[in-house]
Symmetry: C2
Subunit: 124 residues, 2 copies
């Protein structure tokens, strides 16, 4: 991560070896900008205290919410408000940009084999 | 603005009538997500207390900084750290996504004919 460099989030995301394992690209005050490579189904979870922005860089992302489902195509964004349970699903490989406060836990209060710490998201 | 809707920032930006006049699309806690349509030169300014993310949705953006210049192509992002004087320049029309804390003043401490209030950025 180096916020004084120009970064192509799509390029970084495409190079990630693991699905659902975000990589921190930059910080904006108390928030991180991340990218991730998604395929399959993620865990149902909520972030009680943080909103979460999804912006689709490539592919299509479905976000299942308690009361409805939204579909994001390439170039579209959606903010999951704090406290709202959600489950991202990528039927085919999808690359996303994420913006969320630094305190955000990857899978909220849930712990799953997919859970990644902030240290892991900053790593490598 | 409605953060519970799916939004295409590129589409919204392309429809803006005024250059350099950002439109708020969503909020992420204490930050706004905005888009803007840029052409020509903006004002030299700094935000003493806020970092500012630029992500290029279409076209190319040059950001002149005190000590160097960065060029962002479509799909690339850059964070101007707080306190760093900068001047965005778009030789040709360029569409951008911006993320910055709600307290961020459009042209920092400078006031120019280009300056837009948050109310204007939220408007219509």
């Amino acid at each position: 991560m180096n916020s004084m460099n120009v970064v192509s989030p799509r390029q970084v995301a495409a190079g990630l070896s693991e699905f659902w394992s975000p990589r921190v690209l930059a910080e904006i005050d108390d928030a991180y900008v991340k990218c991730a490579r998604l395929h399959g189904e993620f865990t149902w979870h909520a972030h009680d205290h943080e909103d979460e922005l999804f912006f689709v860089l490539a592919g299509t992302l479905r976000i299942e919410l308690a009361e409805r489902t939204v579909e994001l195509r390439e170039g579209e964004l959606f903010v999951v408000p704090k406290g709202v349970r959600h489950k991202p699903v990528a039927e085919e490989e999808c690359l996303v940009l994420l913006v969320e406060r630094k305190s955000t836990q990857h899978t909220g209060d849930e712990v799953s084999p997919l859970t990644r710490s902030i240290a892991e998201q900053l790593g490598g």
